[in-house]
């Protein structure tokens, strides 16, 4: 469960349900697109802008034609729904992701490690 290296992306994720999608990396599920095509595959990455990367995808286009795609990247703008697998505990997933973000932010304690909010010392 890789947390973004970008402070901005972490902040965005922390404040939206994208954080839930980031918690289901590795699950196989269906993404419904805005143009009514669907992509069924394994989620390999979701970024703060809800761009979704899927692997081993069965893609059904809006005409109903089915094809296999090895790797698919959908822009967040074009995502309509992401089906959350039944076995996923949504609340627990969100909490776990938040914890991971906080771990990164406060790594090594307040005064050591990566500084999220730098002080004069790190000018």
């Amino acid at each position: 469960m890789e947390i973004s290296h970008s402070v901005k992306e972490r902040t965005i994720a922390e404040n939206s349900l994208v954080i839930l999608l980031q918690g289901i990396h590795g699950y196989v599920t269906t993404v419904d697109l805005r143009d009514e095509s669907t992509a069924l595959g394994r989620i390999t990455n979701v970024d703060a802008f809800m761009n979704i990367r899927l692997a081993e995808v069965t893609f059904t286009d809006r005409q109903g034609r089915v094809s296999q795609l090895d790797d698919l990247f959908v822009t967040g703008r074009n995502v309509r729904y992401v089906h959350i697998p039944d076995e996923v505990d949504i609340k627990a997933t969100v909490e776990k992701q938040l914890q991971l973000i906080h771990k990164v932010r406060y790594f090594g304690g307040r005064d050591k490690g990566r500084k999220e909010f730098p002080t004069a010392r790190h000018k």
């Binding site: 402070v7 901005k8 902040t11 965005i12 404040n15 939206s16 994208v18 697109l33 805005r34 143009d35 009514e36 970024d47 802008f49 761009n51 990367r53 995808v57 893609f59 809006r62 005409q63 109903g64 034609r65 094809s67 296999q68 795609l69 090895d70 790797d71 698919l72 990247f73 959908v74 822009t75 967040g76 703008r77 074009n78 938040l98 914890q99 906080h102 771990k103 406060y106 304690g109 307040r110 005064d111 999220e116 909010f117 730098p118 002080t119 004069a120 010392r121 000018k123």
Partner: protein
């Protein structure tokens, strides 16, 4: 194909350049040329210098297709949210004989399907990744749903981050003190007092400066990590 134009290839920010790549729009081949996956846009130019560019915000999705049943060659598939001129062939959605279930959609949502077929199949993953990276550089400006403004004290972290670029917006304790007006000084004292009082009495929050710890650390100006209003982050998980 009147949408093909002559232009120089991108000069900078090229993440992947793939020569000997055929471009196909819908059902029609456009010839063989070089695909430039640059940070600013996706460009393809044939040997005579004619080609086209696609802006990342118009690209809905892209994928690596190795399904030879769907298309006879392994390729990079790119779906674009725009209309491009193309001759009608059997494969285009508007061809006769095919059911047009989504004919209304075609008006609202123009779709163009590009395929880039490199002669070097092994380059497909790199091409795909390069495109993912470039797409990430172009977040949707029309995104109304997600509130990225983050107004309010709690989210002032954004303002701090933006301020941290080239312009030093932080002072050392001594420097800062000398820049304070009388009012600023009074505010500082009040805040530090409030902080020391409320926080040390509640519970020991990791790393929070109290009267005692201030002597250990030089800069007492680190107000951006501590709540201005005591108890603001009460519900935050501090004990990891």
């Amino acid at each position: 194909m009147s949408f093909l134009k002559r232009f120089p290839p991108p000069a900078e920010g090229i993440r992947q350049q793939q020569p000997d790549t055929e471009a196909v729009l819908g059902g029609r081949g456009l010839g063989t040329g070089t695909l430039y996956i640059a940070e600013s846009r996706l460009s393809w130019l044939d040997k005579s210098g004619l080609g086209f560019s696609l802006d990342y915000p118009t690209i809905s999705l892209h994928a690596v297709s190795r399904d030879l049943n769907a298309y006879p060659w392994e390729h990079l598939y790119v779906m674009v949210n725009a209309k491009f001129e193309e001759e009608e062939t059997k494969e285009t959605p508007m061809a006769e004989g095919e059911e047009e279930e989504d004919s209304d959609d075609d008006d609202i949502e123009p779709i163009a399907e590009f395929r880039f077929v490199p002669s070097d199949k092994s380059a497909l993953e790199a091409m795909f990744s390069a495109m993912c990276e470039c797409q990430a550089l172009h977040p949707d400006p029309d995104d109304e749903d997600s509130d990225n403004d983050y107004e309010g004290e709690e989210y002032d972290v954004e303002a701090h981050e933006q301020g941290q670029g080239d312009i030093p917006s932080f002072y050392t304790y001594e420097e800062g003190l000398s820049h304070l007006t009388a009012e600023g000084q009074a505010t500082l004292e009040r805040l530090e007092g409030m902080l020391a009082q409320s926080v040390s009495s509640q519970y020991n929050m990791a790393g929070v400066r109290t009267e005692d710890s201030v002597r250990e650390f030089e800069d007492g100006m680190e107000v951006d990590t501590t709540p201005v209003v005591a108890g603001q982050f009460e519900d935050a998980e501090v004990d990891h």
